[in-house]
Assembly symmetry: C2
Homo-oligomer: 340 residues x 2
């Protein structure tokens, strides 16, 4: 069941994903979005696709599964969690090589559930590490939605806020509305209000002025894919927020579960950036035409924030400088010593 994020905040509706085609459609149409939630959905999509394979033997099973994996992988280009989840599920399949196909099918549902369960625990650990960065009374800015709706639990960017609030710190959050799809207005403000966290919605244009007025103490955002050097791909506009934060001496943190860090990519220049339809610009949420008919639009869905603007990356293993990210895949590294 997928909580339909296109319908929020006006309608709380669930979409039953009864086959992998529905999972593909929900990712592509953004009924589910947010890098970790996309990963979880893809994992469950693999389990659904496997269930419907008719081949009785292992080799036939793997072969018949491949087109579904390709289709899931092609739903959206930027979030690395999609590949991470599909790879994980296929490694799991390989680990069961030679076992009866029906047994593999059942085990894949359990593995997909583990992806979700682990995500919840990862978010909580991001919250534990990140909440240390938030002092009592802090005013936090976030962009887009890297909250519960984007993940399996506390959210990524919101986890430090939620844990700080649980610990009794009085915090307030500014949520960028995040055009074009308004995830900040529709989702972040909704879920923080539901959790009783003080939230103020602003237009994306306002973030800089509030920073300059001294009304923002730190920024925490999520990421769809972070490269090994700490370059961060995230929702369009994140780069502007990061540059403004540095210009105003405000720390800028990225909450990144390890599944969103692509250690195979040397820098953000290699990250594919999705361009979406013009209609998202001129027709707001499909409900309001705001520009003249026939207007030409550009709609970059993500941007890349160079590592130099990033104060720290909050992972489930601790908070690290972008330049130290590579230590996370170095078995000889002393992670404790590298922590920010």
């Amino acid at each position: 069941m997928i909580l339909d994020q296109v319908a929020l905040p006006h309608k709380v509706e669930y979409i039953p994903c009864t086959d992998y085609k529905m999972a593909c459609r929900c990712i592509r149409e953004m009924n589910v979005r947010g890098a970790p939630a996309i990963g979880i959905t893809a994992a469950m999509g693999v389990a659904l696709a496997a269930r419907d394979v008719s081949a009785p033997d292992y080799a036939g099973f793997v072969k018949e599964l491949q087109p579904a994996l390709d289709e899931l992988m092609a739903t959206r280009p930027t979030a690395v969690n999609l590949r991470w989840a599909i790879d994980r599920m296929m490694e799991f399949v390989e680990g069961m090589s030679g076992r009866p196909v029906e047994e593999i099918k059942a085990a894949l549902f359990e593995e997909a559930q583990r992806v979700l369960d682990e995500d919840i625990e990862i978010n909580r650990m991001i919250g534990v590490h990140g909440s240390a960065l938030i002092r009592d009374g802090a005013r936090v800015l976030t962009h887009c939605n890297a909250g519960s709706l984007a993940t399996g639990g506390y959210g990524t960017a919101t986890a430090p806020m939620r844990i700080a609030a649980e610990k009794g710190k009085r915090i307030s959050v500014f949520a960028d509305e995040t055009r074009p799809l308004l995830q900040g207005a529709r989702l972040t403000s909704w879920e923080l209000m539901q959790s009783g966290i003080d939230v103020t919605l602003i237009t994306d244009n306002s973030a800089g002025a509030l920073m300059r007025k001294g009304e923002i103490d730190l920024v925490i955002v999520g990421t769809d894919r972070t490269a090994r050097n700490g370059d961060v791909a995230n929702k369009i506009g994140t780069y502007m927020v990061a540059v403004l934060a540095r210009e105003n001496n405000i720390p800028f943190y990225v909450a990144a579960p390890l599944s969103s860090i692509d250690f195979t990519m040397a820098s953000g220049d290699e990250i594919p950036i999705e361009e979406r339809g013009e209609d998202e610009v001129y027709n707001i949420c499909g409900g309001l035409m705001v520009a003249p008919e026939g207007v030409k639009c550009r709609n970059l869905a993500f941007d890349v924030t160079p590592a130099k603007y990033v104060t720290g990356i909050i992972t489930q293993k601790g908070v690290f400088r972008p330049a130290d990210l590579h230590l996370l895949v170095d078995p000889a590294a002393d992670l404790e010593a590298a922590k920010l």
Copy 2:
């Protein structure tokens, strides 16, 4: 007659301003907006208010006119052209001191028309000076609407683009949509399309990414009030565009008729910044609710861009560095030598 900018681009409708109360309402409700257009409307509002004064003598006329001037002045706080226009009209009244009231009333309509006529010529000169900054093939970013709709003629920020195009330069324009009121989407893209200038609409979040990708050659924006030191108050988000432009080594120009430069203000810190209703954030153009009921919003209508981010200020007298603006009111200054 005021072209209703709230109804654009879907409806082209005119509002007859038959008394100064209607002029006040049109400024306050933003049926007319843009600093120079506000100034012109205020000048015409003064003429309308004067027409309806019943006092037969000069002293009574001036006294009876005062409440209307106060009401016009209070319509919006940030644009200095409002005060500039009202002051100009009242200096004109003082110049006719002792003349028959009916003669003054008639002359005020002529003076208001001169404010409009002069604005058209000022815009043209801004275009002549500014077009020299735009090379053939240039890609120009603008924010909000400082076009024909905001002024009496070529616009301020758009005048250099229009004159460059008239001279045969092939230019293209990126228009920030400019939340919350979407003047870029509704007005700038509309008027540039009408003029046959190539325009691409983008979300405010996209400006930084396009700059970083090398797709923008220069920025030109308007201003609601520029202080003597070159600090620029303009539509919210301008500051973010300016910081991103400097970060990417892209020249950032402000088109500022002298009427929008407040030489009485030492710096931008003194400029009053209007905060408008929360509804403009959560209810887009009064037509689409995009946030949960009861959400708290902040809605700064303008921000201040410090002079250090401004490459040049394009006036009807030429293009100047912010630090040289004060020369424009120095009778001993050599303006030719100071030009950028």
